[in-house]
């Protein structure tokens, strides 16, 4: 048993949990405390994306590793920064984790195990691998992206918009050198087309535990437009 624990611990130290946070003063403390109690041994880093609330202060008081972005740059740039940090510090895997409490640290080990056992380059924490999607507008969008990716790459991604994903080092290195790549469905599809392997693990998620989502109706429309345009038009020319 001790040997197995040792194996697990050494595995965990190769994984970086990246937590982008923008004005998450209501949630960040709970997220950090839960991570420390449920998934100890995992390194994590918070990318404080130019928050103007108390997010930075709270992280400092909790003694977390923080990358402070001097201005708000958005999720993609925050993610790329974390990917560079992970590569520079020799991590084998990086897991994208929400600051708002939607993601459950119980599943971190499952993502890592899946990556190690299957050798997948990307592992997605999917809400819909064994569970059916409901009929809300959001899920209509998600279904359309799933169908489109299936048509373009031949692979079924049950939860393409999940923000709970593990990336292995080869993928992180791609993010290091190409900043047109984002942590979004269109890049996942591009990786699939280029022969990287993507697998999924069933997870459950919660509602956000406080604060406000950055996705309003206008941004959601822009998001869908960008994903569809990239998948349908732009990627032909890449």
């Amino acid at each position: 048993m001790s040997r197995e624990n040792g194996f697990r611990l050494s595995l965990r130290s190769n994984v970086l949990i990246a937590i982008p946070a923008y004005n998450e003063e209501e949630c960040i403390e709970g997220t950090v405390k839960e991570l420390r109690s449920v998934a100890p041994g995992f390194d994590f880093i918070i990318i404080n994306d130019g928050s103007y609330d108390r997010t930075g202060e709270i992280c400092k008081s909790l003694d977390c590793k923080v990358i402070d972005m001097p201005i708000n740059c958005g999720l993609t740039v925050g993610f790329q920064t974390a990917a560079r940090y992970a590569v520079d510090h020799g991590y084998d895997y990086m897991i994208q984790f929400d600051a708002d409490g939607q993601h459950r640290p119980e599943y971190l080990a499952a993502l890592v195990e899946k990556a190690v056992n299957t050798g997948s380059d990307i592992v997605i924490g999917s809400r819909f691998l064994t569970v059916r999607k409901d009929k809300s507008m959001r899920m209509v969008g998600s279904r359309m992206i799933t169908v489109l990716i299936k048509m373009l790459t031949g692979h079924r991604i049950s939860d393409p918009t999940s923000g709970f994903r593990l990336f292995s080092r080869p993928v992180l290195e791609r993010y290091y050198y190409d900043n047109t790549l984002n942590p979004e469905p269109e890049s996942i599809a591009l990786f699939l087309k280029q022969g990287y392997s993507v697998s999924e693990v069933q997870v459950s998620m919660r509602e956000r535990q406080g604060g406000e989502s950055y996705l309003n109706p206008v941004k959601s429309m822009q998001y869908m437009l960008r994903v569809f345009a990239t998948l349908l038009i732009v990627q032909w020319f890449r």
């Binding site: 001097p70 201005i71 190409d178 047109t180 822009q222 437009l225 960008r226 345009a229 990239t230 038009i233 732009v234 020319f237 890449r238």
Partner: protein, 118 residues
């Protein structure tokens, strides 16, 4: 609508397509921007191939000729585009300023310390 204008529209569309695709390949253009140019030049092709569209709308709006409508269409779209670009530019300048300020304060913070100690 004159034959020359129709040919010119299609030629311009091809040129725009060529440059947009080149920039996309080099990853020097954002997706939503490229989408604007691709759709805009597609509309040139449509107007060039089916001049009836322009003739019909010009008739509805009471224009002297179809080509006048085409000119107005192009100018109107580009004016809107110019407006949004100038908003984006202003935002970029603001961001650049705060970035430079953050970098300057960061680089010089050691000097402030030591001069206070003296």
């Amino acid at each position: 609508m004159s034959f020359t204008l129709r040919i010119l529209l299609i030629v311009f569309a091809v040129i725009v397509f060529y440059f947009v695709i080149r920039k996309l390949k080099k990853a020097q253009m954002q997706v939503l921007d490229s989408l604007f140019w691709l759709l805009f030049s597609t509309s040139f092709v449509l107007l060039g191939i089916f001049p009836e569209i322009a003739v019909h709308i010009a008739g509805l709006l009471g224009f002297m000729s179809a080509s006048n409508f085409v000119f107005l269409y192009v100018i109107a779209v580009l004016v809107v585009r110019d407006f949004t670009i100038s908003l984006r530019l202003a935002k970029q300048e603001e961001r650049l300023n705060s970035l430079v300020q953050a970098a300057a304060l960061n680089w010089n913070s050691n000097d402030f310390r030591s001069s206070n100690d003296d």
